[in-house]
Symmetry: C3
Subunit: 453 residues, 3 copies
Amino acid sequence: MHQLTGTAGALYEAIRDLPIVSPHGHCEPRWFAEDAPFPDPAALLVVPDHYVFRMLYSQGVSLEALGVPEPGRGADPRAVFRLFAQNWHLFLGTPSRFWMAYVLRQTLGIETPLSAETADAVYDQIAARLAEPGFRPRALFDRFGIEVLATTDAALDDLAHHAAVSESDWPGRVIPTFRPDAVLDPSHESFLSNIDELGRSTGEDVATFAGYLAALRARRGFFKARGATATDHAIEVIETVWLDDPEALYQKLRCGEAAEGEGRAFYGHMLIEMAQMSVEDGLVMQIHGGSRRNTNADVFARFGRDKGADIPIAVDWVRGLDALLNRVGNAPGFGLILFTLDETTYARELAPMAGHWPCLRIGPPWWFHDSAAGIARYFDQVVETAGYWNLAGFNDDTRAFLSIPARHDLWRRGVALHLEAQVGRGFFDMRDAEIVAPLLAVDLARDAYRLGA
Amino acid sequence: MHQLTGTAGALYEAIRDLPIVSPHGHCEPRWFAEDAPFPDPAALLVVPDHYVFRMLYSQGVSLEALGVPEPGRGADPRAVFRLFAQNWHLFLGTPSRFWMAYVLRQTLGIETPLSAETADAVYDQIAARLAEPGFRPRALFDRFGIEVLATTDAALDDLAHHAAVSESDWPGRVIPTFRPDAVLDPSHESFLSNIDELGRSTGEDVATFAGYLAALRARRGFFKARGATATDHAIEVIETVWLDDPEALYQKLRCGEAAEGEGRAFYGHMLIEMAQMSVEDGLVMQIHGGSRRNTNADVFARFGRDKGADIPIAVDWVRGLDALLNRVGNAPGFGLILFTLDETTYARELAPMAGHWPCLRIGPPWWFHDSAAGIARYFDQVVETAGYWNLAGFNDDTRAFLSIPARHDLWRRGVALHLEAQVGRGFFDMRDAEIVAPLLAVDLARDAYRLGA
Amino acid sequence: MHQLTGTAGALYEAIRDLPIVSPHGHCEPRWFAEDAPFPDPAALLVVPDHYVFRMLYSQGVSLEALGVPEPGRGADPRAVFRLFAQNWHLFLGTPSRFWMAYVLRQTLGIETPLSAETADAVYDQIAARLAEPGFRPRALFDRFGIEVLATTDAALDDLAHHAAVSESDWPGRVIPTFRPDAVLDPSHESFLSNIDELGRSTGEDVATFAGYLAALRARRGFFKARGATATDHAIEVIETVWLDDPEALYQKLRCGEAAEGEGRAFYGHMLIEMAQMSVEDGLVMQIHGGSRRNTNADVFARFGRDKGADIPIAVDWVRGLDALLNRVGNAPGFGLILFTLDETTYARELAPMAGHWPCLRIGPPWWFHDSAAGIARYFDQVVETAGYWNLAGFNDDTRAFLSIPARHDLWRRGVALHLEAQVGRGFFDMRDAEIVAPLLAVDLARDAYRLGA
C-alpha cells in the first residue's frame, strides 16, 4: 500500500479512521441477521464478484471453471481460487487488484503475496481466518467502524432479516433501501405477476391505478418503518414523462396490450410518481442511469443477471429528467441523487444541473469509475461547477462486504490527493481543505441520505 | 492568490500586464456612455450574476431573498449581501470564488476576508469604494488596461450608447456585436413582431424574403459602422441546412403556418445566409452552440431568462455545420468562431475541423468551462490537433464588468501552466513558449476578431 | 528531444530499442519490392502527409501550392518544402512536429533546425541523404529494427509486391492486410463493378449470395497464403445486423433497387459474415469506426480522398456491435480489435466491453489521438477497467514510412510516463512495471495480431 506524504498525507490521516457511512450497496441483510461464518474463500471473494470473474472471462477463462452458478453444476472452491491466483496479473492497474490486495493484507491479515505458487497457502490462510469468531459478519461490521449500512431490497421483500437485526441485541445499523424497478417497469419479465403480488402483500386493490399507487405508498411506508431513508431506481435510457391519463395505460399494460414504447413511457411516468411520493414521505430518491443490462445473451441465458455483461451507454440527463424536474424539482425537501456511467455528463450536465436545482446531488463515481483515476476525473469535472455541497459523498455500492474498508480507503486517498492539488494550485488553503475532507469522507453522505449523525 | 513560480512564473510575468482584449462579453454600453457610479454592492456583485445566485439557489436559498428581480418585489441589498457572505463556503473550488476574491482584494482593494461575520464591514467598504471617482466605469476600464471591449447587442438595438461613447472625449474603445437571434429564429417568442420592427427600422419591405435579407444586411452595415467586427449566434441543437426555397417557408412563418421543425430549418438556413453575408462584409461569425435555455419552467415564468437554469447538451458539430461549411467554408476571408459547452467535441470534432477548414477557429472554454481545470482540459484536448493558430485566444464573456481582470488573469495563469508543462515534457523550448504565451493572452483574440493592434 | 529521467527514464531505456512490430499501417509494399530511392523531400515528407497539409490548408495555404496531386497540375518540390518550412511554427504542440523533428534529426541525421531561412539547406541535405544506399526502403526497414510490417490492401489487390518481397533474398517481413470495404459496403462508389471483379478474380459465381461469400472466402485465403494475419474494416456509423434473408437484399443491391438504409444494413450484415469467417480462418478482425470521410465536398471533388477532411463523430459501440457480438463474441479463437476516434467511448464502452468479451481488444489511440496527451488519456481511461491484457499494444497506422520509429518512440515514452505514474501512486511496483512495459511496447501487438515471436 502506498504511503501518502506531505499535504495529501496529512489530509488522509485526518479522515482515514472516520466512521464508514455506507448509504448504498448490495450486501445481504441475512449475513447480519444470522451472523454465520462466511463460506470458503472462493465463494467469498471470487464467485460472486462480477468485477473479478468478468476479467477472467475476457481472457478466455470459462464461467463454469470459476464456479459461477449454473443450474446443476458445481466447482471445487480450491480449484477456483487457484485459477484466480494464476490470473492475478490480469488485474494489474485495476481497482479490483487494489481492493483485493487490501482485503488480503489489511482486512484478513495475510502477509503471503498472492501468486500461482501461493494459491493454496493463501486459500488455507483465508479459510482459517473465516473460521475465527472475529471474522463473522457482525464482528467485521464493528471492526470496520461502520456507522450505518444500507442494503438494496426489492419492493416486495419482507425485510425479515432487517427486522431480525434490529430486534437483536447487536447495535449495528443495517437499513433497507426501497428498490421498486420490478413493480414499476413494464419491461421487467414478471411485471404483471409482481403487481399482483404487490396487491396481495398490501391488501390494496391493484386493479385500478389509484390502488396501485396506494400499494406503492404502503410499501414505501413499510420500508421507512424498517429504517429506510432512500429509494433506488435503475433506468437504461433516461426518460421521464408526465402522462395525462396513466390509468388508461396502466389498464392496457395489465391486459398485455401496450406497445414497448408505451411501457417505457409508463416507467417514465412512474419515476415522477415516485418523486412525488418522495416529496411526501421524505425518502431520498436515487437514480442509477445508463447501464445496458445483460448484453451477452448467451451468458444471460446460461447464468442469469449480473454476470459482467452490463455495459454503459451514453445518456441525456437534461432532456431525460426534464419532466420530472419540472414537476417536483423546486419542491422543498425533495432529494434526488444521480449516478452516471457516462462521465461526459459530469461537467456537461450533472454539475450544471446540481448547481441549479435545489433537489439534486451528484452521486460519487459509480461502478467502473469507482477507481483512482475515475475519482480524479470526477473531482476534476464536477467541483468547479457544482461545488462540494451539491455532491452526495461516497457510496461503496458493493456486494463484496469485505471490500468495504478498501473502497472507502481508496476514496479517502482520492479526496486527499484532490485537496492537495487544490491547495497546491492556491484555490484554497489548508484550513479549507481540512473542512472539505471530512465532508467528502462522511458528512455529505450522512446529509444527502438523511442518516443523522 | 497563488504565486506561480519557475517556468510558469516567468511566463506568467511576461503576459500578466499585457492589455486586455475583450472581444466577446455582455457588459452594458450604458455604463461607459453615462459613466455613473455603480450601485450598491449587492446590485453590482450578487443580483445580476447568475453564476452566483444559481449556486445559492441550488442550496435552498430563494431567488426572492437574493433580490433577483421579480415584478413588484425588492430586497434589501445589505441583507442580500449578508446571505451571500453566509454562503461563501459554497463556492469553494469554483471559479466564482476565485473571481470574487480577486475582485474584492485586487480590484476593490479590500483586505478583510469575506465571511458571515464580516459581511457588513465588507459591504460598507465596497460601498465606499464605489463612491470614489476612480471606481466609475471609465476609470476602471482605463485602469484595467482594456484595449477594446465588445458588447453583445440585439439586432434592433439603436446603439445609442455606443454612439455616445465614441462621440465623447473619452478614448475607450467599446464596440457592439451584432446578435440577431431574435429576428432569425422563429422559435423566439416575438419573432414576427421583431421582423416588423426590423422592416420599420431599416425602411426595407420585409413582406418578401429578399426584403428581409436586405434589412438584415442593412442592420449589419449599421453595426459595422458603429465599430462592430463580429456577429454572434446562439443555437441549441446545431443544425444548418440550405433551403431550396426559403421564400416559401418565410411566407409560411409570417402567416404562422409553419410546423416547429420548419422553424428550426429556417433558422438553420438563416445561419448560412449570415455566413454568406460575413463573406461579403467581413464581420466575423460566432456560434455559441448547445445551451438548452430556461430548463426550469417555474423559475423562467417568475423571473425570466438567464436565471441559472441554462444547461448544456451534447452536440454534433460535424453533421450540424455540414451544410454551412460546404457552402462557405472554403471562402477566403470568412471567419467563424465556435464555442461549445460539450467538451467531448474539443478533441473529437472541433480540433479536427479547425485543423482543416480555413475559416474555423475554436473559441476559448465557455461558461462553466472557463475555469482552471476547464482551461487545462481545453489545452489538453485541442492543441495537439488544431495547434495554437487555429484558436481564438480568450473571451471573458461576462456581464460582471469588475471580474474582467480576474477572468483574464485566470486564463493567463492557465496559459503559463500549460506552457510550463509543454516545456517540461520537451515538446518545445522556452523560446517557443515565449512566442505562444502572448499569442494566447492577446494576439490571437485581436487577430481572430480583426481588432487591429 | 526530451530526456526522460528517474523511473520513466529507466523504463524507457528498457524498451526503447526493442524491435518494432507494426501490425497496422499504410506503407506501400512497392517500396520494399522495388527498393528504389525515395523521391524528393517534398514528395516524401509533405505532399502525401494529410496530417501536414491539412494544417497548412487550415491556415490559408492552398492545396495546389502544396503540390497535392490534382489532375494536370504539378508543383516545384523545393517551393513546396519552403512553404512547409515557413509554416513550421503552426505545428508547435502537435505530434506532427515531434515526428518530423525526430525524422529530420534521428532518422535523417540533419542537425540544421528547420525554419524559413534554412528551408533550402535542409531540403538539400535531405535530398542528399535520400540518394544514399543506406536510405533506401529495405535498408531503412532493417535499420529501424522492424520485425514485421503489415500493409493495408484492397480485397482485389493482386499482392504482387508482397510476393516479390517474399520471393526476394531480403528477409524483411512485409505482410498484407485484407481490407474489403469496397466489396462489402454498397455505399462505395464502385461497389457493383467491384463485385464483378471479385467474381472474375476468384472464378466464383457472384450472381448468388452464396457465390459472393465463397469469393470473399477465397480472397481471404489468398491473403492468408501471402502472410496476412488480419482483416480491416472501416465503418462510419457503427451498425451490425444479422439479416434473415441476405440473399434477397443482395439481389436488390445488384439490381440497384435497394434504399440507402438497406445498403447500410447489408454492410452491417457483412461485417458479421466477416466475423464468422474470422472464426473459421483465424484472421484477426479490425474495425476502425466513426470517421466521417471527405466532409469537404469541394476538396473531395478536386483532390479526392484522404485530404484532411475526415472528421470523427460520436459513436455507439454498445448497440452498434450488439448483433455481431451476440453471434460470434463468445466463439473461441475469435479476435476483434476496435479503434475509436471518440475518446468518450474509452471508459464508457470499450473498456467495459473488452473487460467482458473474450474476443475483444482495444486498439491503441488512433489518428488524431496518437499523440502524447492522447496516449495519456488512453491509459487513464482504459486500464482501470480493461487491464493491460485486453489491449492490442501499439499501431503506427502510418503511410509515412520514415516516421515509424518516431511514432513508436512517442508511444514508448508514453508507456514509460504512464507506468512511472502508476508506480508513483503505488498501484504497482517497479517489478510489475518492468513486466508491463515490453508488453505494451511489443508483445501485446504480436499476440493480438498473431504474429509469432
